[in-house]
């Protein structure tokens, strides 16, 4: 098992290397000379030369890249131009907010998506199946930022049931914190629930047609025991892998959700950074997101092996 994990980590290294090249190259896409932007009104040649030396911009690009990667590996992703704080600290401060949002969204997606998928598969080609499919298709097609706006309009503005925006740290006031996060979690979890529903239905259908399910039924096992113990346990494997892949969708969705509900998380950080031209923060967020995605994939792979006796035996 350890050697398997080791191999997977080794495979992730070239991927990370390419991502780092991409993230580093982003700053080279910037139009104009960054030093002139830094110098502002002061176009004194000596100041410009000083800034070039200070930021090592006179070095060849590969040298600049190696210096940048070296710093990133030591946790130095640069300094935010706007707040003058280390980028990694900014990301670390915002991460718990997004993690709370993500956990609540995933919980919502699992509670809705998986039972809906199971029911749709068991009741295939019935009205229930069609309704579940229509709901899932709508969930995938509805832009989450619009859903958020409509919910604010209905639930906050018209009915006054939940706050339209803001954030309360969980450990300061858990109830208020959950209240403020309910709508954003629903908005973010909606598309994930739809994806999970479709994949659960498909995975369940492929297992339901297996010989051992027919045998279980022939032995007189109750239908729900067949569905939950025999079918779902075997269908859960692809769902585990999918859940890790949904991590990327979750982070991308969080960008818009946090913007609409004014939640000071990871997603709002990148959008604010884009508008204040805080490029080090943009690069830092992209890099951390990609690393997070790779780690989640790794965890999913390990879980896949742990949950699958055949693969476990093969190791």
């Amino acid at each position: 098992m350890y050697s398997y994990i080791g191999k997977r980590v080794l495979v992730a290294i070239p991927t990370l290397l390419i991502i780092s090249i991409f993230v580093f190259s982003l700053q080279k896409l910037l139009p104009g000379d960054p030093v002139l932007a830094l110098a502002g009104e002061d176009r004194d040649p000596q100041t410009i030369e000083y800034l070039r030396e200070k930021y090592h911009l006179n070095d060849p690009v590969p040298v600049q890249y190696i210096r940048w990667v070296g710093s990133a590996l030591q946790g130095d992703l640069g300094i935010s131009l706007k707040t003058n704080q280390p980028v990694l600290k900014l990301i670390g401060d915002k991460l718990p907010v997004t993690i709370q949002l993500a956990v609540m969204s995933i919980a919502f997606a699992f509670v809705i998506g998986i039972p809906m998928g199971i029911l749709a598969a068991v009741k295939k080609n019935t009205a229930l199946d069609y309704i579940a499919n229509v709901v899932a298709l709508s969930g995938l097609s509805i832009p989450n930022f619009w859903l958020g706006i409509m919910l604010i309009l209905l639930v906050s503005v018209k009915l006054g049931w939940l706050p339209a925006s803001g954030y309360q740290p969980f450990f300061d006031d858990p109830l208020r914190s959950i209240q403020t996060m309910l709508m954003p979690a629903f908005v973010l979890g909606n598309a994930l629930a739809a994806t999970l529903m479709r994949h659960t239905r498909s995975a369940m259908l492929s297992v339901l047609s297996a010989d051992y399910i027919r045998t279980a039924r022939a032995k007189g096992v109750s239908e729900w025991a067949v569905v939950l113990q025999h079918t779902f346990r075997n269908a859960v494997l692809p769902i585990v892998t999918l859940s890790a892949l949904l991590f990327g969708d979750l982070l991308a969705g969080a960008v818009l959700t946090e913007q609409i509900f004014t939640i000071p998380g990871f997603g709002k950080l990148i959008v604010d950074a884009v508008f204040t031209r805080d490029y080090a923060v943009v690069q830092g967020v992209v890099l951390c997101t990609a690393v997070g995605f790779i780690v989640m994939n790794l965890i999913a792979d390990v879980f896949y092996v742990l949950l699958n006796p055949r693969m476990r035996a093969a190791l």
Partner: protein, 291 residues
């Protein structure tokens, strides 16, 4: 399925186009999708000919007016006619969807063909780069690219196209790996055809169906991505209309003018569901297992 998931159609077994078309016509969902797309495409194309007000004409006496006989969908914060902006906005959304997927296909498919057909080091390098890009969430990559390239509809389309490209590389590569072992490809190689001819005449036509399905589904994702970027202020720039930028403005007037937020969202939802329905229908029609 999400549009960026990969479709899975065994290559080399595609049906004749007429048979696929018959199956597509029998699929009610796909027909509804096709009708929705045709309706919005027609609106977008005919926008300059329709008897509607100038989408950018402001009117200080008609600020945030509710839907009425004069302004069917109401007016916005600058007194502009929302129906007119919706119709012109359809151009931006559909254009963004088609062009960005065009970019993704134009770059992704050749790389996928090369990677799958030639294998070896070329394949290794292309595959590693593809994996790296797939590790970066679609919208975050698009936001980062749009931020560094500068906010505009063109840059948003480039950003979305580049972010969607790895899915096409991986899909095409996978399909080519199956097709290239088929007897007819071996035959073409044995009679001394050049690689470029084999790829063009024997490989590409047999990997085309899943790419078409993926492209249709990705247009749906690209339209949402463009609306998202415009909503964030990184896509279409004011005063040019786009559904995403209309929603960006509308969110500031939710209690005073809720209709401003209603119509663009419904339009995005309908067009996206149209492409998703058509994509699902195409997948079923072109899938030989669904015979």
């Amino acid at each position: 399925m999400t549009a960026l998931d990969q479709v899975d159609i065994p290559p080399g077994e595609q049906r004749a186009p007429s048979r696929a078309w018959r199956k597509l016509k029998a699929n009610r969902g796909a027909l509804v999708g096709l009708f929705i797309i045709a309706f919005f495409t027609l609106l977008a194309v005919l926008a300059p000919l329709l008897p509607i007000p100038d989408p950018n004409a402001t009117s200080w006496s008609a600020i945030r007016k509710a839907p009425s006989a004069l302004n069917w969908l109401g007016t916005d914060d600058l007194g502009r006619d929302i129906l007119s902006r919706m119709i012109w906005g359809a151009q931006a959304s559909l254009l963004a969807g088609v062009v960005s997927v065009g970019i993704a296909v134009a770059i992704g498919v050749p790389f996928g063909l090369i990677s799958g057909y030639f294998g070896g080091w070329t394949d290794q390098i292309i595959s590693r780069v593809t994996e790296a890009f797939l590790a970066m969430p679609f919208l975050i990559t698009a936001i980062a690219l749009a931020a560094f390239l500068g906010p505009s509809l063109t840059n948003a389309m480039i950003a979305i196209g580049l972010s969607a490209m790895p899915v096409f590389i991986r899909l095409t590569r996978g399909q080519v790996l199956s097709v290239k072992t088929e007897d007819y490809v071996e035959g073409a190689r044995s009679i001394g055809l050049r690689h470029s001819s084999i790829i063009r005449r024997y490989i590409l036509p047999n990997v085309f169906a899943p790419i078409l399905v993926q492209a249709t589904l990705t247009i749906a994702t690209a339209i949402i991505a463009e609306a998202s970027l415009s909503f964030l202020g990184l896509g279409q720039q004011p005063p040019a209309p786009s559904w995403g930028s209309m929603l960006n403005v509308a969110k500031n007037y939710l209690s005073q003018a809720p209709w401003m937020a209603l119509w663009p969202g419904i339009a995005i939802f309908l067009v996206v569901i149209g492409f998703n329905l058509l994509g699902d229908g195409l997948r079923d029609a072109l899938d030989p297992r669904e015979a």
